[in-house]
């Protein structure tokens, strides 16, 4: 293992993400401020000002331009970074699809926040979930450490020539972004060993001209999209592979596309994404200590969706409670829908209970987690479920 011992800092997940972008030797940052993301790019600006980081910070007039500037940097053959939240991510929407279709290996941190109206700067995951079908890989994190580690891994995943898709690392507004905790900052030498310089497939080069913003019609368009879908499917293997290699170098392993926590013999399992997984771990431990057969699945990859992994993990479970911090209005929480689809065709599928909570920054205390698991424990096999709002 190369390098020196890592430095421990007591910092927020936002600051941890800024360290990751610095360690990834990002050369272009383009961003527009928005709560709760702003402190990421403030920290990056201070790294550049102090000379700790050699990068150009492009102050853009909007998030739409921020992502476009990152695409330009990638075309020129350098590593780029941006981060945003909520309204800013929505404003990027057009360029999200543009960049994934163009196979730009971008990395962005989205600090998840509710969307207006009603106006709210507080946390939920509606912003990220609304971008589900833009073709970005979406990975959710639980702690400041995982946010840092996943930004580093995201560059490896995105830039892998088998993938070439943009990656969005999601962290939860406030309960991660504004919460300080102990974080190990890896040393530069180890990061360099894990993450070699960007090796672009194509760059803007007058001596080697390529058509980059291509058009496509009918079959050609469909063939392009099929390749994109195949790359997104392949990303499942690459995410696991990169996570395993990261663990070999840095000693931290997060479990691939999902992490199953204490599901051995579980009758009821809670599924959720992001920082609330931490609270759920405590509740599962407490209920296990009371002899209750409950477990937890942390869904780390939302796109690509770990359908096979979830089918296997839940094949013997009686009921799954899903906590969504989002809602697809007129239906239910997005994770609940995707889970049900993944379980289709399973011989003896678990009942799925959909819960919607932690909206607009509403706290989800341990008692609510317990309530969802108790409901799942007492549900009859195959009983129908709906979208129950637990914050009220």
């Amino acid at each position: 293992m190369p390098g020196k011992a890592p430095v421990k800092k007591y910092i927020t997940a936002n600051e941890a993400v800024a360290h990751a972008a610095r360690l990834a030797r990002v050369e272009v940052i383009a961003a527009y401020p928005i709560t709760p993301q702003t402190s990421i790019v403030e920290k990056l600006a201070s790294f550049i000002a102090s000379g700790e980081m050699d990068a150009d910070f492009i102050k853009v007039e909007s998030e739409h331009s921020a992502l476009t500037a990152c695409m330009g940097a990638r075309m020129a053959g350098v590593r780029a970074f941006t981060s945003t939240s909520s309204q800013g991510l929505e404003y990027m929407h057009e360029m999200l699809a543009y960049s994934s279709g163009g196979r730009y290996p971008l990395v962005m941190a989205n600090v998840c926040r509710s969307v207006a109206l009603p106006w709210s700067i507080w946390g939920d995951q509606q912003d990220a979930i609304q971008q589900r079908d833009t073709g970005w890989i979406q990975l959710f994190t639980e702690t400041a450490q995982e946010a840092l580690d996943m930004v580093l891994q995201a560059y490896r995943i995105a830039e892998d020539h088998r993938i070439l898709l943009p990656v969005m690392i999601c962290l939860d507004g406030f309960i991660q972004s504004h919460t300080e905790e102990l974080v190990e900052i890896p040393d530069q030498e180890s990061v360099d060993a894990f993450l070699p310089p960007y090796d672009p497939v194509v760059t803007l080069d007058v001596d080697d001209p390529h058509s980059i913003s291509v058009g496509g019609f009918g079959k050609h368009y469909a063939a392009w999209r099929k390749e994109q879908q195949e790359a997104a499917e392949r990303a499942k293997e690459v995410i696991v592979e990169v996570g395993d290699e990261f663990a070999r170098i840095f000693g931290r392993h997060y479990g691939g596309l999902i992490e199953a926590y204490r599901i051995e013999g579980a009758q009821a399992v809670l599924l959720t994404m992001g920082a609330l997984v931490g609270t759920a771990r405590e509740v599962v431990d407490e209920m296990r200590a009371e002899g209750k057969a409950v477990g937890l699945i942390k869904v780390r990859a939302f796109r690509p969706f770990p359908a096979e992994e979830l089918r296997q993990a839940l094949s013997q479970v009686k009921a799954a409670a899903v906590l969504d911090r989002d809602c697809s209005y007129g239906y239910e929480g997005a994770l609940a829908t995707d889970l049900k689809a993944a379980l289709y065709g399973l011989a003896n599928p678990p009942a799925v209970l959909g819960f919607i909570g932690g909206l607009g920054g509403a706290d989800v205390p341990p008692e609510r987690m317990r309530y969802m698991l108790e409901r799942a424990l007492s549900v009859k096999k195959g009983a129908p479920s709906s979208a129950e709002f637990i914050d009220l």
Partner: protein, 187 residues
């Protein structure tokens, strides 16, 4: 993994601009970086403006802290401004025997604090005014906390203040913390 070690949950009460959020942060970093413990700290997730009542929180434990919910049952309550009594419910949800550390010139009988709590009063404003030159009491109260409880030691507090503040003002803040420590300890 299922054992329930003691989890310290500290709630800070102040007004916007008094440094409650920074106080919560310095306490967490003192425990996490200088005493080998785990800590998390966070502001109250609500609107904040100068002069309005604010809260901030620190959790400290000997093992990794996983819970992300708000603090409802504090083991320690730190009050930077005694005009908050009667404005917010300072002792709401306090665990039996919780420490209530208050910056005040008043006596315990003049404050509305229920029985069964471990109340510690000091005039931190006077200490801060004299030593730091301004009435910002977060660092002074950290020294008092180290003197009044075994939550975190004075050395760790001093180091964490030095990390958090610009060199120009760190020394005076450390001196104020130390003065408050001895005032509480000796008193």
């Amino acid at each position: 993994m299922t054992q329930k070690a003691r989890l310290e949950e500290v709630r800070w009460h102040g007004r916007g601009g008094q440094g409650a959020v920074l106080g919560a942060s310095i306490l967490g970093s003192a425990a996490a970086l200088y005493e080998g413990k785990y800590a998390v700290s966070f502001p109250s997730f609500g609107a904040e403006r100068r002069g309005a009542p604010v809260q901030a929180f620190t959790r400290i434990a000997d093992q990794v802290i996983r819970t992300r919910s708000q603090i409802y049952h504090p083991t320690r309550i730190i009050v930077l401004d005694d005009t908050l009594f009667g404005v917010v419910d300072i002792t709401d949800g306090a665990q039996a025997g919780a420490t209530v550390l208050v910056n005040t010139r008043r006596s315990i009988s003049e404050l509305d604090i229920p029985a069964g709590l471990n109340v510690v009063l000091l005039d931190a404003s006077a200490i801060a005014q004299e030593i730091i030159g301004v009435g910002i009491v977060n660092t002074t109260m950290l020294g008092a906390l180290a003197g009044a409880t075994n939550l975190v030691g004075l050395d760790a507090i001093k180091k964490a203040i030095a990390d958090a503040l610009p060199e120009k003002i760190a020394g005076r803040n450390i001196a104020a913390a130390e003065a408050a420590y001895w005032e509480v300890k000796g008193g």
